[in-house]
């Protein structure tokens, strides 16, 4: 058995790398799910970029005389226990979740990807040593490892970001290694090697272009996982700290006012769910679209 995207595939299937390419335009036209999911994420990115113009109130401006107001036209999602506009805080919350997800995924991709590339390319002892290291990280349920790291480094967004990045490392290491091991055996790589291609040339010109499709899929799924992990850490009080407008932390506060003011938890909850749904959906749709083996 071989592993692609973390799922077990029969050997004869895994031997064929995912190499098919198509233009972004054709991809969006042929696969409406990819287009819809991309649209949802584009909306999220636009909200993040234009947060100061979309949110009419300062997300951290307190107004105790207007605390816990129900949703109304001036305050579409109501106000929190300190009188802060909840809509503004939900909009600004995207400026915390999205960058953290991207940085965490970048850490996982760079560190994990390099480990996987080295293990797959060098093989033998390097592979054995690096993969045992990855096995040791995988021995921990991911969120528990992230929580343990934050517990040690101390609560806060920066430490949460480091912790989430570390737990992403094994995913990319295994994906990269599996792909490199498969590619290494293929004729075009053997031909390039026979023609005297250097290891750098092999990696840059032959491996990386062929790794792009599975990586794009994994990045989308990892971004969803990273956003969920960040929200969970913040919900537990281990990520964002007050007064940061963070979706997870806002839900933590909202949970205390469920009896009379449920909108405090609903707004940020729906925001996290939509963002994570967008990334998961895009990853799923891209997997179907870019992997010729999965097309119906």
């Amino acid at each position: 058995m071989s592993t692609v995207y973390g799922a077990a595939l029969p050997d004869e299937v895994a031997e064929t790398p995912i190499t098919e390419r198509m233009s972004v335009r054709r991809l969006l036209a042929t696969y409406p799910r990819v287009a819809v999911a991309s649209g949802l994420l584009l909306l999220l990115v636009l909200v993040t970029l234009f947060a100061p113009w979309i949110a009419l109130h300062d997300p951290n401006a307190t107004d105790p005389s207007n605390s816990l107001l129900s949703p109304s036209i001036p305050h579409p999602l109501g106000t929190d226990e300190l009188g802060r506009d909840l809509f503004a805080r939900v909009i600004w919350g995207s400026r915390v979740s999205l960058p953290i997800a991207f940085v965490a995924v970048a850490v996982g991709l760079l560190v994990g990807g390099s480990i996987g590339l080295a293990a797959g390319f060098r093989g033998k002892l390097t592979d054995l040593f690096l993969m045992r290291l990855i096995d040791a990280i995988l021995a921990f349920p991911a969120l528990i490892l992230a929580i343990a790291i934050v517990a040690v480094l101390g609560p806060g967004l920066r430490n949460a970001m480091i912790a989430i990045g570390i737990v992403q490392v094994p995913v990319y290491a295994r994906l990269m290694r599996a792909q490199v091991l498969t590619l290494k055996e293929l004729d075009f790589v053997a031909a390039a090697r026979a023609l005297g291609a250097s290891p750098t040339r092999l990696i840059v010109h032959h491996f990386l272009p062929n790794l792009l499709n599975p990586l794009i899929v994994q990045i989308s799924l990892s971004a969803a996982a990273a956003m969920l992990a960040e929200a969970t850490l913040s919900f537990l009080g281990l990520g964002a700290q007050p007064p940061t407008a963070d979706w997870g932390f806002m839900m933590n506060t909202g949970a205390r006012f469920l009896n009379n003011d449920p909108w405090l938890a609903l707004g940020p909850g729906i925001a996290i769910s939509l963002a994570v749904f967008g990334f998961n959906w895009l990853g799923d749709a891209l997997r179907d679209a870019l992997d010729p083996r999965l097309r119906g």
């Binding site: 990280i137 929200a231 469920l258 996290i272 994570v276």
Partner: protein, 314 residues
């Protein structure tokens, strides 16, 4: 099979060593001295030095590690710096509540996912398939703390059907225990239900394409006989692997679910200990959970090999 088991156990040794090293390092990675962190800077240097001595932090690192591992192998993970209770006792006291919650979550997840995934596969493209497929993506996208909050809002606050939290042990009252278990179990099991539905559906679709299904139908077997007697049995083999892997997700989810519903399990103990800076407890829980997860993965691999004799691990 025995050879495979021995090989797997041998492979676990270096991983177990690295895991123990990571857990041991947790205390030593703190940016400030762990004893100062535990007691707070307002304590006298003498008190901090005494705690350093008690926790053996004044010994060389290799010596500390060897002592810690030796003690751990003898079932001694130290004492809580807050309550002075032995760590093993603190964990074992709370383990039954976590196990009960985890088993209930997995049980409802399997009971719902297998029929739902099977029906979705049998009625591919129908509205129920679209709903089931939508649920599989939505189920993994909605954070479980949001699901918990929604359940509390609707079923506890609005309809007053279930209590919003708390725990009664099985020994005290079985009906009350089960009544309080419903919401946390649904919260914890939703993600795994979504994943299991997805795997059952895709696995069932794969099996239904096989020749032996067509042969069984051609020989006059009813759809019911074909589905229950042939297809489902084979379709569930990969699902077993997935369910096993979900033990990790259940352990992760327990931390959040137990916190929301004030369920006095290991997860809640972990979170309380983080805020109480009770490092021996945190170390003990992380070590226990990591080894439970490793053993669960081993059990899954063995179950998979046993269920599917076509797979050779030679």
């Amino acid at each position: 099979m025995l050879q495979y088991l021995v090989r797997r156990l041998a492979l676990m040794v270096p991983v177990a060593f690295l895991v123990s090293l990571v857990v041991f390092s947790l205390v030593h990675l703190t940016p400030v001295d762990p004893a100062t962190l535990i007691l707070g800077e307002e304590h006298s240097p003498q008190a901090i030095a005494a705690l350093r001595h008690e926790l053996r932090l004044d010994r060389p690192l290799p010596e500390q590690y060897i002592t810690w591992v030796t003690n751990a192998l003898h079932g001694d993970l130290g004492r809580s710096v807050r309550t002075n209770q032995p760590v093993v006792q603190a964990i074992t006291e709370r383990l039954p509540a976590t196990l009960e919650l985890g088993i209930a979550a997995l049980a409802w997840s399997i009971l719902l996912a297998i029929p739902l995934g099977t029906i979705a596969a049998l009625k591919r493209g129908s509205p129920i398939d679209v709903l089931a497929t939508g649920f599989t993506v939505a189920g993994v996208s909605v954070p479980n703390f949001f699901i918990g909050i929604l359940l509390i809002l609707v079923l506890s606050v609005n309809f007053r059907l279930f209590p919003p939290g708390g725990y009664t042990s099985l020994a005290d009252s079985i009906p009350d225990n089960l009544h309080r278990l419903v919401l946390p179990a649904i919260t914890l099991g939703t993600v795994t239900t979504a994943i299991n539905t997805r795997f059952t559906r895709s696995s069932m679709l794969e099996v239904l394409r096989q020749d032996y299904i067509r042969t069984a139908r051609a020989k006059g077997a009813s759809w019911r006989q074909v589905i229950v007697g042939h297809a489902l049995k084979n379709a569930l083999i990969p699902v077993v692997t997935v369910v096993g892997i979900q033990i990790g997700q259940i352990l992760e989810g327990a931390l959040v679910t137990e916190t929301i519903f004030s369920w006095p399990g290991v997860g809640k103990l972990a979170i309380d200990s983080i805020f109480g800076r009770d490092y021996p407890i945190i170390q003990g829980i992380v070590l226990t959970l990591a080894f439970s997860f490793m053993l669960a993965n081993l059990a899954v691999d063995l179950a998979y090999a046993w269920l599917n004799p076509r797979i050779s691990y030679a």
